[in-house]
Symmetry: C2
Subunit: 202 residues, 2 copies
């Protein structure tokens, strides 16, 4: 092991994490001009969580929610963005992301590595109010830009409305209010024919 | 006034805030491939603050620091990114940003508008431990990518080392440890001739 200072280890992690700025999602930024990267997405998720915290169904420690959302996609530096609809990559997603978490969080000093890995594991397990609300926000982070872009990534990838509903109803576990809202946006897209009914074909 | 729900007001703010993804800074992302936008920068600042919180010189409420950093550049949607070195735009920066804060935060319901405006005013005034530490982190957010890019925006814009030192020594007010570190990076760039001594000419 190279002998570097604690601060240098922390900075190396921050420099490594910067690579999420080159990991692109299937949804566009709100103005539709280009795809969104994971750093931008994570920022919007933090802003969304602090702005909509009042709609969490259970009391949440908003600091833990923010930390979770800030780090939640760093694993995609190694694992890539996995489009969650009818994609074979979904089957191996967790395994790939765990390997990434093992590598990337361990760039940090041991105490911080344990904290961040704990936050990421908690987010993945969705067994706490914080993880459930963070997941609601994360899913809303797909719904709102796709709504702003007339169906966006769902339309571009021919994702049927049934799949969109099935995946995003998980929003209700962290926030029934936000699920009611998200569902109304999805229903509006479906009513306009921007996302259509049907079996998933990919 | 249009009569829209509280949640719809909150979402409109989140959609408006998305425009920072089109506001570009003078520094590049760490890999040097392109300029960094304000959303990416703000995400890195939140990650940096939570990772380096132990170096704050005074005890800080890290939740307030994170919220401050998440919202600190939203005003640049209207005011643009102001390059802080020898630029006439610096003289009008605060005025332009206050006008932007008046417009953008007031998209929110009154209580949230007041909270976010308070956080932004606090960040600008730099009179609290949280604002001073957030500012240290924000300045480090210029130093680290410019160091990673062999002088980066400083070199591209011929900013002399004296100006870089003068501006960034403010890091010491929130964190002497981080200023020692930042100074060592700047000194290394100067020793390699990547940023040079001289009067600012722009």
């Amino acid at each position: 092991m190279e002998n570097i200072s604690r601060l240098e280890q922390q900075v190396r992690f921050i420099v490594e994490a910067d690579k999420v700025k080159q990991i692109f999602r299937r949804n566009r930024i709100m103005d539709g001009s280009r795809y969104e990267n994971d750093a931008e997405h994570s920022w919007t998720m933090a802003l969304t969580a602090m702005t909509l915290a009042e709609y969490a169904v259970d009391p949440v420690d908003i600091l833990r929610v923010l930390k979770m959302l800030i780090i939640h996609d760093i694993v995609e530096i190694d694992a890539g963005d996995t489009f969650p609809y009818g994609n074979e990559a979904v089957a191996t997603q967790h395994e790939r992301e765990v390997a990434a978490a093992d590598r990337i969080f361990n760039l940090l000093p041991r105490d911080l590595a344990a904290e961040y890995r704990g936050l990421w594991d908690e987010f993945e397990a969705k067994d706490t109010p914080e993880a459930r609300f963070a997941t609601s926000v994360d899913h809303l982070g797909g719904v709102i830009p796709n709504y702003q872009n007339a169906g966006g990534g769902w339309r571009e990838n021919s994702v049927p409305v049934e799949s969109v509903m099935q995946r995003n109803q998980r929003i209700a576990q962290g926030s029934p209010v936000l699920w009611d809202y998200a569902r109304s946006l999805i229903e509006e897209l479906a009513a306009k024919g921007l996302i259509v009914s049907g079996a998933l074909t990919s």
